[in-house]
């Protein structure tokens, strides 16, 4: 039971942050694709902008790893 809750907690930590990252990237990516079509020289900058929200899911992954590694029974 406890192990299951730990696993669910870790899953939620990654799942919600992945959803947030995906949502942010979809908005930035759509706008970025338009910007690149107009000005191809901003490609690098758009990659940078699209990549920024990824920090959320990476932090989610870090929290999930901590939940699994540090909690007793994890």
């Amino acid at each position: 039971m406890e192990l299951g809750l730990i696993a669910i907690g870790a899953g939620l930590a990654v799942g919600f942050t992945a959803f947030g990252t995906g949502y942010a990237q979809s908005r930035i990516g759509a706008a970025g694709a338009g910007a690149i079509a107009e000005k191809p020289e901003v490609t690098g900058r758009i990659i940078l902008l699209v990549a920024i929200p990824e920090t959320m899911v990476i932090l989610g992954f870090a929290v999930a790893a901590m939940i699994m590694l540090l909690l007793p029974g994890g």
């Binding site: 900058r45 990659i47 990549a51 990824e54 990476i58 790893a65 699994m68 590694l69």
Partner: protein, 633 residues
Amino acid sequence: MIIPMTRVQIVGHKQDMDATLRELQRLACVQLLDATQVHPGMHGYALAAEQKEIETLNYLLARLHALLALLPPLPDETPEPWDQKGLIESIQAELDAQAGELEALAQERQQLLNDAEVLPSYADTLSKLMPLTPVLTQLRDYETVAVLLNNPAAGLMDTLAAEMQEIAGPLSELVWDQVDPDHIGALLIFPREAAPKMNTLLGRLQVNPIALPESLRNVSFQDALVHIYQRLEEIPRRLKAIDVQLQESARTYRARWLGAARALNRRLEQLRARKHLAETQHTFVLVGWLPRDQLEPLRQTLEARLPQALVVDELLPTPEEAWDAPVLLTGNRFTRSFHFFIRLLSIPRYGALDPTALMALFMPLFFGLMLGDIGYGLTLLIIVLWARRRMAPGSGMRDLMTFLLFGSLWTIFFGFVFGEFFGNLGHLMLGLHPLWMERSDPDALAPLLLFTIALGGMHIMLGLALGIWQAWHLHQRHELWERAGKLVGLIGLFLLAGVVARQLPRGWMTPAAATVIVGLAMLIHGLGSVGALLAPVELLGVLGNILSYLRLAAIGLASVYLALVGNLMAGKIGVIWIGILIAVLFHTLNLAMGAFSPSIHALRLHYVEFFTKFYEEGGQPFHPFGGPDPFAS
């Protein structure tokens, strides 16, 4: 590395201006500057006498480009040299003599292609209407309109017939029938004077008449159909004949006209370059940026070619002026490929650090760490070696392949470190063991995460150290304090983490906390008035940057588990060849994702985490007068 630049000033008599510009264009080593900005008291060169020649050159170039577009390109096209003397007159005469015939051929070719495209649909429509045409006779004062409607429009016919009777009277006729299961064909015959009102009616009812080509307007449908079939039969033969003629003309004129376009373009560049000059009554002054090691060869060449005519001096830029110097990046054959990734963002400013060499080291390393599999590395290496040879030197795709080449070598290296060959296939079939740890082992998670954080910490601290060095050299006081504060604060935080994790003695707690406070104080000083508020956020931001390197482990684990799932599924299938097929599919998918995703993430770690610590972007690329040649074959 950014090539050191300097400014050169050339002063000479106006009669030597043309020869000087020609020579500079040939050497292609000087980027011209607006001389009046360097010497505000002087007058800029007035482009008045040259305007007519510039217009003629532009006109001839446009004409040449239009004619070259008509001629099919040839495999080997080396532009023929043209004598500058009488250039405009010679080209003009040649174009006048040849353009008419070529344009007529091209026009006919286009018409044939258009006919080949549209005539079959006319033939189709007319053949559908043929059953209705017996009612037609040659009526001099009557107009005939044919329409083809979709079946659901059948009810429209009654409306059309009623309104037509009203407009055109009893002398009009509407004949319609089902011409095929999907279409209704209709012929409208009405007195010619009712044509405007009938057109309005058809427009209102949104019925589009079949508009035959101009050449078929005044012939009967039967004749038109015969004509269309004859034309369709003739088109391929005529197209072939025209293509042969155009090929022949291309062999005669393409190289010649490419040479002419190059000569005209060079002359146009020479004239346009004059607007950068300053002038007195008898002299001209030219100022430009050039690589410092090119100054002496330039001086010697100009002295040899134009003896006693010019004064060539170095015009040393002030530090503020040097900040605006154009940037020319250089590197060895390996690091040069990584300029592509720098240009993708923005090249560094002159005087700032060029991170290409560091990028060439760390980007493939991060890539290899994420993918880390001997099988994938070898497969990628073979694909990249094959693809790279087929790409033009200097192209972005080849640069990308060079990165993947190094990345695949690191992938093989980390494959040995983690003992992976297509996931656990190496372990199962070849008895492969990891040099360090198996990533799929749950016990390996903590060391793997710590390793990536340590790697991230080292990379970020290297970025901060470079930032401090650069701020020191560029006399950027605030940036110096800010970056130094972050570095000191970060060291303090690492020491604290070491004490909390019991890796350092408890006695280190006080010095560690003191280091964090000192770092924060330096950061507050660097950030200015809002420093007290921003400093903790900034320090946490740097910590976030380091945690971002966890992706090196996360993406690697995703790749490992996908490979494991592929092998597991393949093993569960009873039939061996289906198992192999499933394994191949999984590993192909994993490799495709593995080549793409780690590339993007390795790039992101550089752009977002590493570069923000020191990179000064916004440099202007060096564009020397006279280069590169757009007409080089």
